[in-house]
């Protein structure tokens, strides 16, 4: 059981902000932090990792005290055995991609893992390049791989997939999930993507202005608000084409386009760029697995 109890004054967009977080995390669970930019997600990870010192509070893993303001204990980052993927990569500019990963190896650890990870992030051809020559997404992949080299028991990932294209993102999400399960890691992920969270996490904490506003299972949290029995979506009107009395409206619902036929009367008020609800009361959808 991991217990975080963190208090610290931070500057924020609304003046002084009192970060005050109490979190309990099962070992082996996959937890997400979600919240607005500036809510305090990165700060929580940095305190857990020992890079930022809370003013008050404690960090416990089972009986081990990593930090306690009362007992004046503050374990060094190096001793916490936590893997941290930084939001801004923090690759070592003096080392090639491969050297960045090799550096992360623990003493006596097999180099095989490095080769595996390089293959995974598809940077075999670039493994001998210095980070400054990599694209944004390539840097992010290297940073992820470097964090995974040591297979630390606790993994903190600060928006690890934000600069990646869809395919690569799916692939790396799957890989992180795989090793999370395989090695029984405790993982905390910061993400702005609901689908990512629902896909990956057992538990979500929603941060708002330095406090936890809600927490629970992602599916419950997001479902409560958004799921209904009806087949109902929110989307944006992309196009309206007139054909006789009818109008064909194209609505973008996330990545999917839906064409809806509407009569002129339905159209009152709706124009391109509007957000709309698309719903159907009587709907019995077919479901098919895709390859």
């Amino acid at each position: 059981m991991i217990n975080l109890n963190l208090q610290k004054k931070l500057d924020s967009e609304n003046g002084m902000m009192n970060l005050d977080i109490k979190m309990t995390i099962e070992k082996g669970s996959f937890t997400t932090l979600y919240g607005d930019s500036g809510a305090g997600k990165t700060s929580v990870l940095r305190m857990f990792a020992g890079l930022m010192q809370p003013e008050k509070g404690s960090i416990l893993i089972d009986d081990a005290i990593l930090f306690s303001s009362e007992k004046n204990i503050n374990l060094k980052s190096q001793k916490r055995n936590i893997g941290f993927l930084f939001q801004d990569h923090a690759l070592f500019p003096n080392m090639t991609v491969r050297e960045n990963l090799l550096y992360a190896l623990d003493k006596g650890q097999n180099e095989k893992i490095v080769n595996e990870l390089i293959a995974l992030i598809e940077l075999k051809e670039l493994q001998n390049k210095k980070p400054e020559n990599l694209s944004g997404g390539q840097k992010q992949r290297v940073a992820l791989a470097r964090t995974l080299v040591r297979q630390p028991k606790i993994l903190l990932l600060d928006e690890p997939f934000s600069a990646l294209d869809f395919k690569m993102r799916l692939k790396l999400q799957d890989y992180v999930l795989k090793i999370h399960k395989q090695y029984k890691l405790t993982t905390i992920l910061v993400s702005h993507s609901i689908s990512e969270i629902v896909k990956m996490a057992d538990q979500i904490f929603i941060l708002e202005n330095g406090s936890i506003k809600e927490n629970g299972k992602p599916i419950d949290i997001f479902s409560n608000k958004k799921v209904s029995g009806k087949f109902q979506f929110t989307g944006e009107v992309i196009n309206i084409k007139k054909e006789g009395f009818l109008n064909i409206i194209t609505v973008l619902i996330e990545k999917n386009f839906v064409k809806i036929i509407a009569e002129d009367s339905d159209l009152v008020d709706i124009s391109i760029g509007d957000f709309v609800n698309v719903a159907s009361k009587a709907f019995n959808p077919i479901i098919q697995k895709i390859r």
Partner: protein
């Protein structure tokens, strides 16, 4: 015609001094760049202080300190068998003290210019401060290291006052090129002085130039 021994001695002194300083200055500069201690500005200042005294004066004070007639010098001699006056080891120590700021300050400012990100990332990979220092921080401040090495190397070559005082101008032991040139100038032997200077200049020029060329090549390669 030309006595090569002083030249040889000079470069030996400069190399040894630069190397010793390098290893001495790194921990000191690292500490200075990290420390939040109150005495830090005092140490920073003290490091620069050997510079403000005229070299001969500094040399004189060192001479007094190192002299076996005095307690510190006697202690060195009795316990370590170290005779620092009128000896090559004494020259080395004096040069190290005198050139200390040329090595410490550039390295320290290199560390300060470096982003804290890098050391944090290294710590998160479970690496110790020492590993981080040698594998991450130092390789990323190469230009500063180079500056430190070049300045202290070149300065030791030209050094004169301290060396003269501590060394006593003993041929083959402490008579370095700068003293030889000085002697020639004083004797109005300008052509001999010119020859010495020219040789000193050319050798130093070639050493430094090759350092810069290698370094430039290296930098170009990584920035490509």
């Amino acid at each position: 015609m030309i006595d090569w021994q002083p030249l040889f001695l000079t470069f030996k002194l400069a190399f040894i001094t630069a190397i010793l300083l390098f290893f001495l200055a790194i921990p000191l500069a690292f500490w200075l760049s990290n420390s939040k201690s109150k005495i830090k500005p005092v140490i920073e200042t003290l490091v620069s202080m050997p510079l403000v005294l005229p070299p001969t004066v500094l040399g004189f004070y060192l001479l007094i300190a190192f002299s076996p007639a005095n307690s510190f010098g006697a202690w060195l001699e009795n316990y370590f068998g170290l005779k620092l006056i009128f000896s090559f080891p004494g020259l080395v120590i004096a040069s190290v003290i005198y050139s200390l700021p040329f090595m410490v300050h550039p390295i320290q400012s290199g560390f300060s210019n470096l982003s804290k990100n890098l050391s944090e990332a290294s710590y998160m990979l479970g690496k110790s401060k020492t590993t981080t220092l040698f594998k991450i921080l130092l390789p990323n401040i190469k230009p500063s290291l180079l500056t430190g090495i070049i300045l202290s190397f070149a300065h030791t070559i030209g050094e004169f006052g301290v060396v003269l005082m501590i060394g006593g101008n003993i041929p083959g032991q402490t008579k370095v090129a700068s003293i030889a040139i000085y002697d020639e100038v004083e004797m109005l032997n300008y052509s001999a002085a010119n020859t010495y200077s020219f040789i000193l200049f050319i050798i130093s020029f070639l050493i430094l130039l090759s350092v810069y060329l290698v370094n430039g090549g290296y930098l170009n390669r990584i920035s490509k």
